[in-house]
Symmetry: C2
Amino acid sequence: MQTALPPLRTEPLRAACSSCNLRELCLPLGLSAADMEKLDGLINTRHVVARGETLFRANEPFHALYAVRTGFFKTCLSAEDGRMQVTGFQMAGELLGLDGIGSGHHTVDAQALEDSSVCVLPFSDLENLAREFGALQMQLHKIMSREIVRDHGVMMLLGSMRAEERVAAFLLNLTQRLQARGYSPHEVVLRMTREEIGSYLGLKLETVSRTFSRFQDDGILDVKQRQITVKLPEALQRLVSSAAC
Amino acid sequence: MQTALPPLRTEPLRAACSSCNLRELCLPLGLSAADMEKLDGLINTRHVVARGETLFRANEPFHALYAVRTGFFKTCLSAEDGRMQVTGFQMAGELLGLDGIGSGHHTVDAQALEDSSVCVLPFSDLENLAREFGALQMQLHKIMSREIVRDHGVMMLLGSMRAEERVAAFLLNLTQRLQARGYSPHEVVLRMTREEIGSYLGLKLETVSRTFSRFQDDGILDVKQRQITVKLPEALQRLVSSAAC
DNA sequence: CGTCTCCTTGAGGTTGGTCAAACCAGGTGG
DNA sequence: CCACCTGGTTTGACCAACCTCAAGGAGACG
């Protein structure tokens, strides 16, 4: 728990969307070269967030979306009584802050799980630019819609899957996203604790740990602390898609 | 289960946003009179959906958003293995179809739980209009963002609340939305079955039923089938907000 | 009046939670 | 270099919340 907010390091930034190797995974997807340059003009700061620091917290005023450039985040919703629910894990190319648009203030905490950097997208500028060219508008709408669809998937997970299926689905999702970023889908280094995984999946940390151990006994995984080797991805897939049998 | 799709009754519509008594709860919220008239031009059809019929189904192509005019809907996500998860219940003034924007096809089934009618908002027209005037763009973004925030709340519910708290939160949410529409927050007629409530809350129908019975024994509710009288809303509130004690 | 769907209630079982102890890796300081 | 500490992880024993299965009841409707 941090009490004093460490000031975020802010760097002037020249490297922009048009030269970013994440552009096919991020907001600029589908934009023409000309449009992308206009988007470049909007992004003039990058924030560096050290592991453990928060990019923003619930109730802070909302000004901007953030695109993860490097690193790994979690978003966390806290209830009045102190309970926390991890609502997502974000990696390179993914957007943070969409929850703040509706009310004008953030509703979750966004915390870096490793040293990270983000591009700052001032939201009113983004809306103005989106009015200028439809491709950006469409891309923004798609990203928000996909976040809704992702959330529905998590509801399905939490509402009607058993512990094994939840963990399997979680690992598959993680490996697929890593693969889309050019990493091997077989080697995963977990950036989050068992407790954070458990919170996301609606399980206790002991259950997550036990499930990892069971998967290891079954030859599906190799688990060495946070280093996971997926030996039988198809076994995970089977667990997720036909578990009701 | 319906196999033959009954054709949706479509009516030409003159009554539009500017004269709709839901305008303060729906998309036009915050628009000037002039802007609202432009929005009127976009909405030229209304669909009538009989109880039990679907407005759209997963995998159908996405063309439009739908604003519930009268009636009540559920949205349902189905997994490959046949499991269903109710992802939401929508009442007058709420939007259906946001999930379809990202992929161009719907990802859930939207089924009417009572005879209902909706306004059809062709999405490409809506995007064009949103580019013309920022107030509409902003309102659309806010609605999508609030849907994301709502989903996060459901994750909290499913991930870290016990059965009693889930049911209490569900009833409170329902009564609050009814109150915003001018109904008494004490009298609720449930439009959905125990099984649908259970699916939404990640519980079995028997657990929902037992929880209702317990609340009745505790004097919090009066339950007569689907007619619920909330006698002690503050008891529900207490359950939701301080249940960890 | 029979049938159908939905709801209620009971008895018993299972999954995952709780509590507790021990382990492990990494960092710190003597 | 090693002892110690810390946060995170693993594992076991036990327990309870919720699920499963089953029977019966209440309305709605033809």
